[in-house]
Symmetry: C2
Subunit: 268 residues, 2 copies
């Protein structure tokens, strides 16, 4: 039946409407969301941005993101692509950004909108990502950072943290630092190009960059590094943790609200 | 009548209960408050901290602060003193801090508590203050800084801002930059020891330090400096604005939510 009538179908039924692919950089405060994706009983950032797209260009336009951030995790440089019907896209990218922001709540902002080449895929073309994790290291919490930094009141040995962080750089099996999601053998090997800590007064900023990240891997690394800083583990314990390939052997998982997806790299 | 019976009054009626003076450093997110003081229909930070004090040590204990921040302004280093009845103060200062924080909402934190000498006064003994003002200078708002930084989307000439800021340092009559509160002649002279801008990516931090500040003076200065950065005024317009002693001659008042009372200095 399907092929029988194909020759007599009108042209507009067989030729898909012309689409244009757009690339979006999205920033959000994850405090009030279930993460990028919808979860039962809570709203996902993806859902809110898709509704804003529908508000500007009628129809449902599915967003494909580079990453799926967890509940409470923030982003300043999330990248996503979307295909939009060419005939309905009558505004230049600059105006699309403003139009979308007018449809979005204040805790989600479209930072940039640009045309992408037809084959671009936000997830598969990503060559690397940078996460930042913020720690407020002072006996009293900082009320201005209560939703964007983990409050660690105890004194920390920053030299030990830095020595431990250096062990993360390079190619390793990160199974011991990620939540168990039933990863297959060798699926858990990633390469980090950067893992460092900056201190500015009481604020510590962990900067972690690599070609990919397992589920909750950044938070497992930062939780372990803070425990190194408190003397729970020595800096040299990290290589031993890698060898075990067992989540129970490494340190705690740092809370979600200190983590920010900082940027996603493409090309080179 | 009053003096007639004074000799037969029991000792506890004529000798005031022994008091101990405590000095508090207080941090708060000013977003949901009418400022330090109560205003009609809204809660003041002072009120909330006094209620926490009453929750820990029965009775009303009046807080005397170094400054009165305006609606929406934040603080990380507000200083206040309070006199507490010696007989009821059975906890050391370190435990008083924790006890007060247990009685406070997350957007107000007691950072330090220490004993003050009997003559100490948080306002009259203050010798200087530092304010910081945060500006997010990027076409798109940063959702993580939406309640703590002024979003200025336009390009800014940072060199011009720095040249203009230098004019504020020293002793000047700041009448042109402060809200009119009916200041008397010469009451509006203040000395600034620092007025500079740091840039870190899209974040500008204005650091303003001086022996005292008029009502809304910091915000008038920052608003004017941003207008210098946008080309509305030249950097050399600042000395001319000082000479006019007229609020209408200077630039706009920057919004409250970018301003933080950073610290208060005592002694030399």
């Amino acid at each position: 039946m399907k092929s029988q009538h194909s020759n007599i179908a009108p042209p507009h039924a067989s030729i898909p409407a012309a689409k244009v692919k757009m690339r979006l950089t999205i920033a959000y405060d994850g405090t009030h969301y279930s993460g990028w994706q919808v979860q039962k009983g809570s709203t996902g950032v993806q859902d809110v941005v898709e509704r804003a797209l529908a508000g500007v260009i009628p129809g449902h336009h599915r967003l494909h993101s580079s990453s799926r951030t967890d509940t409470g995790v923030h982003a300043l440089g999330m990248v996503a692509h979307v295909e939009l019907p060419k005939d309905k896209l009558k505004v230049p990218p600059r105006k699309l950004r403003l139009a979308l922001n007018a449809h979005l709540p204040g805790d989600i902002r479209i930072v940039t909108v640009s045309r992408a080449r037809p084959g671009f895929h936000a997830r598969f073309d990503a060559t690397g990502k940078q996460y930042r994790y913020f720690v407020w290291n002072h006996p009293a919490m900082n009320p201005l950072l209560r939703t964007t930094a983990w409050h660690v009141p105890q004194a920390l040995d920053l030299a030990a943290i830095r020595a431990a962080a250096a062990h993360f750089v390079g190619q390793h099996d990160f199974r011991s630092f990620a939540a168990n999601r039933g990863y297959a053998f060798h699926d858990t090997v990633r390469t980090l190009t950067r893992c460092g800590v900056r201190r500015s007064g009481s604020l510590l900023t962990f900067i972690i960059e690599g070609d990919g990240f397992l589920y909750r891997m950044c938070r497992g690394m930062v939780g372990t590094l803070i425990q190194v800083g408190r003397g729970r583990f020595g800096a040299d314990a990290i290589p031993e943790m890698f060898r075990h390939k067992d989540r129970r052997i490494a340190g705690m998982t740092a809370p979600a609200h200190g983590l920010v997806l900082w940027k996603v790299n493409y090309g080179r």
